[in-house]
């Protein structure tokens, strides 16, 4: 039953995506070109990496609202380590990613050790990490990175944007882990029934801790890609990206109560959102109008799946 409803949701989403692509390419002849589509892939990588990790977190019935702040903190630290402390750039980026990953680990610790609900814990660290980013940066931006650094965010490998390769590899690895490994099955088990998972001898706390750490790591890697793409660091980077990521995950059919969801669904949701954003901006709608549309799409998609599900199971 679960498998069938999953297939239904993703098929529904794929049809919606094809429909959107057809309508948008009919609207503007600049939309369905290889160059534009590859560029869109470039733009969705940061949200994509975060959304893939978020799929696991939400599948356990948790949530991570602090990812945007971790992104901002990591971006600022990359700049500060390199420019102000004189650390070589590769080492600075690695060190910043380590701090971002540690920030995710702290989230996990607060959630598992102190049993603070994930929503509250990550709301609190959202404020804390963003505050740290602001305090460390003192509202100064860091610019003037060496040319080779831009390969990550602005360059190409085999004709495809560098970061799109990273996203693709991350998506495939995550999909395999979630669907076929013991770790993935534990994730679903925790989301379906945490108490039962614990009594089955599964490492509930360990898995959760690892997942929030991974979420921090994904946000930190996204931060370095972000810096490389826009050539600067600012403390407000990534604010609100958690909403984009959660929208993609929920649109992709992951239940906000946990226990259900796939990486494929998340990737489809991500593509749909990016296609709509791009198509609308080509059609002359401003950025704020597209934010509005994403909200409407989120509610309608969940509404549709709620109605389908009810007719299926009850």
């Amino acid at each position: 039953m679960t498998l069938r409803s999953l297939i239904r949701h993703e098929t529904f989403l794929a049809i919606l995506l094809v429909l959107a692509l057809v309508v948008l390419s009919w609207q503007s002849d600049r939309f369905f070109t290889v160059a534009n589509l590859l560029n869109q892939g470039r733009l969705m990588t940061e949200t994509g990496l975060i959304a893939i990790a978020m799929t696991f977190v939400i599948a356990t019935g948790g949530i991570d609202l602090s990812v945007g702040s971790i992104l901002g903190l990591t971006a600022i630290l990359t700049g500060v380590f390199w420019k102000n402390l004189g650390v070589p750039l590769p080492a600075a980026a690695v060190a910043a990613i380590a701090v971002g990953t540690f920030a995710g680990y702290v989230n996990g610790l607060i959630i598992t050790r102190f049993r603070v609900p994930a929503l509250i814990a990550t709301l609190a660290t959202l404020a804390l990490y963003r505050g740290l980013a602001e305090g460390i940066s003192q509202a100064r931006s860091v610019r003037g990175y060496p040319d080779w650094f831009y390969v990550l965010g602005q360059g190409e490998v085999l004709g495809v944007p560098t970061q799109l390769w990273i996203l693709l590899i991350a998506a495939v690895v995550a999909a395999v882990i979630l669907a076929y490994t013991r770790w993935g099955r534990t994730t679903y088990a925790i989301g379906s029934n945490e108490v039962a998972a614990r009594f089955s001898g599964l490492s509930v706390e360990g898995t959760k801790l690892a997942l929030y750490t991974m979420s921090g790591f994904a946000a930190a890697v996204a931060a370095v890609i972000f810096v490389s793409r826009v050539s600067t660091t600012r403390s407000d980077m990534g604010s609100g990206i958690e909403l984009d990521a959660i929208t993609a995950v929920v649109l992709g059919g992951t239940s906000i109560f946990g226990g259900r969801g796939t990486v494929l669904g998340t990737v489809l949701g991500l593509c749909l959102i990016q296609a709509l954003k791009n198509g609308l901006s080509l059609a002359g709608v401003k950025g704020d109008g597209t934010i509005m549309l994403i909200g409407i799409v989120l509610i309608l998609a969940v509404l549709a799946s709620a109605i389908f599900e009810r007719s299926g199971t009850r």
């Binding site: 949530i63 607060i110 102190f114 049993r115 603070v116 609900p117 929503l119 509250i120 814990a121 709301l123 609190a124 660290t125 959202l126 404020a127 804390l128 990490y129 963003r130 505050g131 740290l132 602001e134 305090g135 940066s137 003192q138 509202a139 108490v195 614990r198 604010s239 909403l243 959660i246 929208t247 929920v250 906000i256 109560f257 401003k286 704020d288 109008g289 597209t290 934010i291 509005m292 549309l293 994403i294 909200g295 409407i296 989120l298 509610i299 969940v302 509404l303 709620a306 109605i307 009810r310």
Partner: protein, 334 residues
């Protein structure tokens, strides 16, 4: 915590056979509220010792009046969280309602229309959210995340980020005084007391705790859960509307933005005030005290010369510390 249901209840020493004293009962009923209140008092004493200007009339007015709208909005939020739901769109909603209010005032509508029409709009929008949550079974976090995007995006695309100025002086009620006290302060106290009494003693108020605490038992006792959830969201819109009146009328201009993370501050006020995020417990007195605590912390940091850039980090740390302390306290009492 998961194992606590298996453990035997601890044996209470029966040395004291008298009724539990007034203080003991107060601690049991309002423990978290008293902790927050003590934190406020300690903070006031400590900061005043460092910088006596902290308790000047001007600063007290800015602490209480400038943040009363957060306390008023937190009343509605506390009710929503007590039923086991959440609203992350409230900051964006206040921004939208403030713009509507200012536009009406400048367009020459009667002042009371400019004040209260947005309240109705807030109730209507939240009513819709409540229907999606209650009857279509979409989790409130998802609905209000969507509503957040719609309201925020809609506000910026309609206003284009412009400010509303030339507001009529009579419109600016938050700057006025009533019996010598600032209107926002009076509004905050009156609304908190009324809401607290209503939540504690009315059948409706008690039923909200039942909906959040144990929905199945609530259904069994004949409480119409769906209608209560819609009602609680409409109430949330009502308090957001009243909060908007206080927010929109405090300056000569209305910006098309609200303070960053306003919804976070409001949710945190409710939670720190003792409302369990899992639903079923907490009071609106606690949420108002917590809103005052946040305002005091923000002001205190400025008075002890913490750099403005580090302000949010320190506030974040304090919020986290309070959450952790709250969880430790709860684990001990469970």
């Amino acid at each position: 915590m998961a194992m606590s249901g298996v453990d035997l209840p601890p044996v209470q020493p029966q040395t004291n056979l008298r009724r539990p004293g007034f203080l003991r009962r107060l601690m049991a009923d309002y423990g978290q509220e008293l902790i927050v209140l003590s934190a406020i008092i300690v903070l006031f004493v400590a900061v005043t010792a460092v910088n006596p200007r902290f308790i000047s009339a001007n600063n007290l007015t800015s602490i209480f009046s400038g943040n009363a709208y957060i306390a008023v909005a937190a009343i509605g939020m506390a009710m929503v969280i007590i039923t086991g739901n959440i609203d992350v769109s409230i900051g964006a909603l206040i921004g939208v309602l403030a713009t509507i209010s200012g536009t009406l005032a400048v367009a020459g509508y009667p002042i009371w229309v400019a004040w209260f029409f947005p309240v109705l709009v807030g109730m209507a929008i939240n009513g819709l959210i409540g229907i999606l949550v209650a009857y279509f079974r979409i989790p409130s976090i998802v609905v209000t995340l969507g509503a957040l995007s719609i309201l925020r995006g809609g506000l910026i695309s309609v206003t284009g980020g412009t400010w509303i100025s030339d507001l009529p002086p009579a419109f600016l009620i938050a700057q006025q005084k009533w019996l010598g006290l600032p209107v926002p302060l009076v509004a905050m106290i009156v609304l908190t007391v009324l809401a607290a009494l209503w939540m504690r003693y009315s059948a409706f108020g008690r039923s909200l705790y039942a909906v959040g605490g144990n929905p199945e038992a609530a259904v069994a006792t004949g409480i119409p859960i769906e209608r209560r959830i819609v009602a609680v969201f409409i109430l949330n819109g009502f308090f957001a509307g009243l909060a908007t009146i206080l927010f929109a009328t405090q300056l000569q201009v209305i910006q098309s933005t609200v303070p960053p993370n306003l919804e976070l501050t409001i949710i945190m006020a409710a939670v720190i005030g003792g409302v369990s995020i899992l639903g079923g417990s907490g009071t609106v007195i606690g949420s108002t005290l917590a809103a005052i605590l946040f305002a005091t912390i923000g002001s205190a940091l400025i008075f002890v010369n913490v750099s403005a850039y580090w302000l949010r980090a320190v506030i974040g740390l304090l919020i986290l510390a309070t959450v952790l302390a709250d969880m430790l306290r709860r684990r001990r009492t469970v």
